[in-house]
């Protein structure tokens, strides 16, 4: 069923691309999400998509008066696929980083959580210092460096799991590459499994993801430890990814998001899915 949907959506996207030159004003768009990154986006047992991204996408589409089809896509190939015209927008908890901004455009931010560590409760890493401290790479880069130095003795020689091509992976490359061994996973659920089985000692992921992951019954051994990092190359937060040529669509998304932030929809939805308010300040 999902396959058929994807196929249909793909055909549809190709058709929209082909007719795009003729019809300046789009009335229908396809939005890609991952469907495996709760609470941002997830696939329910019946195969339908749900989550913060998905619910917000429906809200924004109603505001923009566009008919939207939401499709599930692998996270690591999303940006090339967007530029190839397979779909028109990305809403997958994707952070607007400088590197990504070189290839695609982003709307204004619709939520910021920061990156955090998680490990097993009986691990020696569970005593990681600086618990819950928040460091911004934009405003307090020196403080973040100092915090990392404080973590290094404990992390020395450990194996860290992280989603491939994520901002967490870049953080490890820039700050911890001489200390830890990095393993890259296609999905965050895979590094959770390997944390539980003991193949990796610690994982780094978005706080928004981790806060839900530790609540899962199967992850009862897992806990969030140490400080959080945000800003700088970690991005201002999750934003809608759009093709650089689609300036009209970007304007529409920005307008709809501003309205959704203003009337409290972003606050309401993020509290529903994350348990805390992600409204960008």
């Amino acid at each position: 069923m999902t396959f058929l949907k994807t196929l249909a959506a793909g055909t549809f996207a190709a058709l929209t691309l082909a007719t795009g030159a003729l019809a300046q004003e789009k009335t229908e768009i396809t939005i890609a999400t991952e469907g495996a990154f709760p609470p941002y986006n997830l696939t329910k047992p019946d195969g339908t998509l749900d989550g913060y991204d998905v619910e917000l996408a429906h809200d924004l589409c109603a505001r923009m008066m566009l008919k939207c089809t939401i499709v599930a896509q692998a996270f690591d190939g999303m940006i090339p696929a967007l530029n190839a015209g397979k779909f028109d927008a990305i809403m997958a908890g994707m952070s607007a980083t400088d590197k990504r901004k070189e290839v695609i455009d982003f709307s204004i931010s619709y939520g910021s959580t920061g990156q955090a560590f998680a490990t097993l409760k009986d691990s020696d890493l569970s005593k990681m210092p600086l618990k819950d401290a928040l460091f911004s790479l934009t405003t307090n880069e020196a403080g973040a460096r100092k915090a990392v130095e404080e973590l290094k003795p404990l992390l020395k020689g450990k194996v860290i799991g992280v989603q491939s091509a994520s901002i967490g992976a870049r953080f490890i490359d820039e700050y911890l590459s001489d200390t830890v061994e990095k393993r890259e996973y296609k999905t965050t659920e895979q590094h959770d499994l390997d944390l539980l089985s003991g193949r990796v000692d610690v994982i780094m992921a978005s706080m928004g993801y981790l806060i839900k992951a530790v609540e899962k019954p199967t992850n009862s051994e897992m806990e969030i430890v140490g400080p959080r990092f945000q800003g700088g190359f970690l991005g201002a937060g999750s934003s809608v990814g759009l093709r650089k040529s689609d300036t009209a669509l970007k304007a529409k998304f920005d307008e709809a998001l501003t309205a959704a932030i203003k009337d409290g929809t972003v606050k309401k939805l993020s509290e529903k899915w994350f348990g805390f308010d992600l409204t960008p300040q």
Binding site: E184, Q190, L193, S197, R199
Partner: protein, 240 residues
């Protein structure tokens, strides 16, 4: 075409070739031993062994390798008993999980190839060997096995090549072989076409070399199929 970028990509991907080759070589070598055992089980005429081999081949040939890799890597590690067992030091390591999955899969295919090769040995040759007083084992070692190897080599080279390509699946369990490095490069640069073209070209070069090597071995093993060399005519009365 941005040749500087292509060159840079090539240099990065070349560093992953040893991992790919090592993975392919280890799993093919171990898989062949297992395959020989399975083929002998199939031909043993002992019903339990035959049925075990049939079931094994049925399962491993009938399910996708990707699923097998997932089950071995993520599936087995779910069980506390496995994590506490003596096998965990092997199963903990993504590299060995990939080798085990590739080995088990190639064994199923190779077993059928080897069985075909063994069955193709003419009965007369075996009888001739027995008539000359060779033991069953000696007949197998000297006559059946060499002929079977020669017979199954073309099909077997296909299997080796598909194993080299199958190593790309190991990238999903965090192994940084050619495809793993390529996927990482793409997510850093977002230039899928260039990176995959270079990766594809590297696989093509590896497999081209493999094809030539097998062709050479085949040539050496089958002198009987070649035309006899034409000897210079011998003049009348001349002694040699």
């Amino acid at each position: 075409m941005d040749f500087a970028f292509l060159y840079e990509t090539f240099v990065t991907l070349v560093s992953a070739i040893p991992t790919t080759l090592q993975l392919a070589a280890t799993s093919v070598a171990l898989g062949t031993v297992l395959a020989l055992g399975l083929a002998l089980c199939r031909l043993s005429g002992i019903a339990p062994l035959d049925w075990f081999a049939r079931a094994y081949i049925f399962i491993f040939r009938g399910t996708p390798l990707l699923v097998q890799i997932f089950l071995i890597y993520y599936g087995l590690s779910q069980f506390r008993e496995v994590r506490r067992s003596m096998f965990w030091f092997i199963l903990r390591d993504p590299y060995w999980c990939a080798v085990i999955a590739l080995m088990l899969c190639t064994a199923a295919y190779s077993a059928e190839i080897i069985r075909g090769g063994l069955l193709s040995v003419p009965h007369g040759q075996v009888e001739a060997g027995r008539a000359s007083g060779m033991s069953r084992f000696m007949v197998f070692r000297r006559i059946v096995m060499p002929l079977a190897i020669r017979q199954s080599l073309p099909a077997y080279s296909n299997e080796i090549i598909s194993m080299v390509k199958a190593t790309s699946l190991a990238s999903i369990i965090t192994i940084m072989e050619i495809t793993g490095v390529a996927a990482k490069l793409i997510s850093e640069t977002y230039r899928a076409i260039e990176v995959f073209i270079v990766a594809g070209a590297i696989y093509l070069a590896i497999n081209f070399l493999l094809i030539r090597i097998v062709a050479l071995i085949e040539y050496r093993l089958s002198p009987h199929l070649r035309q006899a060399p034409v000897l210079p005519p011998v003049a009348a009365g001349e002694t040699r």
